[in-house]
């Protein structure tokens, strides 16, 4: 809410007019719900931070790891929300990036642990047990894959887009499932969690804080992006791409860039998830997980900055609490989802914090 000062001139905005360039300073409407919304957001983020810290000092490591899981899944959903909520691109294949990020962490750790090179030709590439290296590679790999998948899928819309993104993700799933080098359908264990210089990543609280930082960073990037000129153009592409085109901006590259950023965020979450569990398997790539991410985004509130977090908290809590009582917990998840879709169209965040300007 810092950009409400009116622009007294338009220098910069009309000159560096290339679409796809993030540009700050677009004034937006003051938010009427700031108090209530701000409160809900602070409480949500505050609880996510304080509960695991308290649990750690009380000795309940299980809850710290549960919070890490919520945080990572929320981060993956933040990525998907950028595509679905802000970009109107209903991707049913985001598990591909989540799993790929996970496999980058797993494969890199596998080679580092066994002292075998990842490849020897044309250059010798060893494995690495450094998270920084893993993250960088995950970003590159996910960005390249999303660029290829997005470039093809974004030529379609609606149900075809959903099916094409699903088809690509399934291709990667079956590939991982049948490729014996890295465990095939048995998956790949990470015997030692990858490290970060100066930090003990094996400490549950430290690892939670790393994940928490990742989530906050992903949300900050989303928020910053959507306040920029690029974000406004993405919103225009979602609302009416023909009208945007008649104003001289092609919606395609804007969507593609948003799709790639979305995939990278989800991919980084996947890398964190593999390190959290010490294990990566094709399950992370499966369409079930794509569906779960979608459910989380819808539960929390499509196109809301804090929606994925609210959705992930609700989803993982239901899975944990109800899943402990009955194996049919998804029946209750279905009922909740039905309730949200029918009665709280803007998700948990819309219900708690009121409507937003984009609705």
């Amino acid at each position: 809410m810092t950009n409400n000062t009116p622009l007294t001139n338009n220098t910069g905005l009309s000159k560096s007019a290339a679409p796809g360039v993030a540009n700050s300073g677009l004034a937006t409407q003051p938010d009427n719900h700031f108090d209530r919304k701000g409160l809900v957001q602070i409480v949500l983020l505050g609880l996510l931070f304080l509960v695991p810290v308290a649990a750690y000092f009380l000795g309940h490591i299980y809850y710290v790891n549960l919070a890490s899981r919520i945080t990572i899944i929320a981060m993956a959903a933040v990525g998907l929300n950028l595509a679905i909520g802000y970009g109107g691109m209903v991707s049913f294949g985001h598990a591909a990036y989540f799993g790929l990020g996970g496999y980058v962490a797993g494969i890199s750790a596998y080679h580092a642990f066994n002292f075998t090179p990842f490849m020897t030709w044309p250059v010798n590439v060893p494995g690495s047990d450094s998270m920084l290296v893993v993250w960088l590679v995950a970003i590159l790999v996910c960005a390249l894959l999303a660029l290829a998948i997005g470039a093809i899928s974004l030529r379609t819309t609606g149900v075809y887009f959903i099916m094409i993104t699903l088809a690509f993700a399934q291709m990667i799933y079956y590939f991982a499932n049948s490729w014996p080098t890295y465990g095939g359908e048995d998956g790949l264990p990470i015997y030692l969690r990858n490290g970060l210089p100066g930090l003990d990543t094996n400490n549950a609280l430290t690892y939670f804080l790393i994940c928490f930082f990742g989530l906050v960073l992903a949300m900050a990037i989303t928020s910053r992006l959507m306040k920029s000129r690029f974000g406004a153009a993405l919103t225009m592409a979602r609302l009416n791409d023909v009208r945007l085109a008649t104003a001289g901006i092609s919606p395609y590259p804007i969507r593609l860039v948003a799709f790639v950023i979305s995939a990278v965020i989800t991919g980084l979450a996947g890398a964190l998830y593999a390190d959290l569990n010490g294990f990566v398997s094709p399950t992370m790539l499966s369409w079930h997980f794509s569906g779960e991410l979608m459910v989380i985004v819808i539960l929390g509130g499509v196109g809301r900055l804090y929606g994925p977090l609210a959705g992930a908290v609700l989803f993982v809590m239901m899975e944990t609490l109800l899943g402990g009582m009955t194996q049919y917990w998804q029946l209750f998840l279905g009922l909740v989802l039905l309730g949200v879709v029918l009665f709280a169209k803007h998700g948990v965040m819309g219900w708690l914090a009121g409507r937003e300007r984009n609705e």
């Binding site: 001139n9 338009n10 000159k15 409407q29 406004a232 919103t235 009416n240 001289g248 901006i249 609705e359």
Partner: protein
């Protein structure tokens, strides 16, 4: 500048344009006229590639518009104010104006000077504006792309008289500034004094083209009377 020659356009199997000819020279204000349903908006949709023409040629300066996608047509220098005051409802007035802006004569200050209400309401969402204000925003948004040819499709349709006057004042200003404009409008009393030329469509064909002074009552009754 813009030359539309013998275009034929279809909506699915049904033909809407049977041979439209239209020309706008640099600095000219041309009025495209005709009764409802005679193909004015379809002609404009064909120019902008939204409902592509199946036959004929559309050229703008050196560009063959039939071969270009809509965004390239706009980039070539055509600015459209679509029928029915279309802006982006969930974005602020400023965002509507700035996101698609391209550098040139028209700047945010000039647009806000032209329509002071847009300055007053700069932080409001477009959907909270009145119909007239939305129309001003749609015109402002098109101006901010600094088009060499501005196309106004029914820019004053269905607006309160006060607002209409404000929009006509703006259109007269475009004329003074030598802004090339293609104007679709039904109010003869406003159009005829400022148009350099009129082109009349009847059942998807160009049936008359000439100076407003030559538009006698026989032509009016035949093609424009209700």
């Amino acid at each position: 500048m813009l030359k539309v020659a013998d275009i034929e356009t279809f909506y699915g199997p049904s033909q809407a344009l049977f041979g439209v000819n239209l020309e706008v020279n640099a600095g000219e204000m041309v009025a495209l006229m005709g009764r409802n349903g005679m193909g004015k908006t379809t002609t404009i949709r064909s120019i902008f590639g939204l409902t592509p023409a199946n036959r004929g040629t559309i050229t703008f300066e050196s560009h063959d518009l039939r071969r270009l996608p809509a965004y390239r047509i706009a980039k070539a220098g055509l600015g459209l104010v679509p029928e029915g005051r279309r802006c982006f409802p969930n974005l602020s007035v400023r965002e509507n104006l700035l996101v698609t802006a391209r550098p040139g004569e028209w700047t945010l200050q000039k647009v806000e000077l032209l329509f002071p209400r847009l300055e007053e309401r700069r932080l409001q969402m477009a959907k909270t504006l009145s119909g007239g204000e939305q129309q001003m925003l749609a015109i402002g948004r098109a101006l901010m792309t600094n088009p060499r040819l501005l196309v106004l499709d029914e820019a004053t349709e269905g607006l309160a008289p006060v607002i209409r006057q404000e929009i006509w004042r703006a259109i007269r200003l475009f004329k003074e500034q030598g802004q090339s404009t293609l104007l679709v409008d039904k109010s003869l009393s406003e159009v005829l004094p400022i148009a350099d030329r009129c082109t009349i469509l009847e059942k998807g064909r160009t049936v008359w083209d000439g100076k407003p002074a030559a538009l006698d009552s026989a032509v009016r009754d035949r093609y424009l009377g209700v």
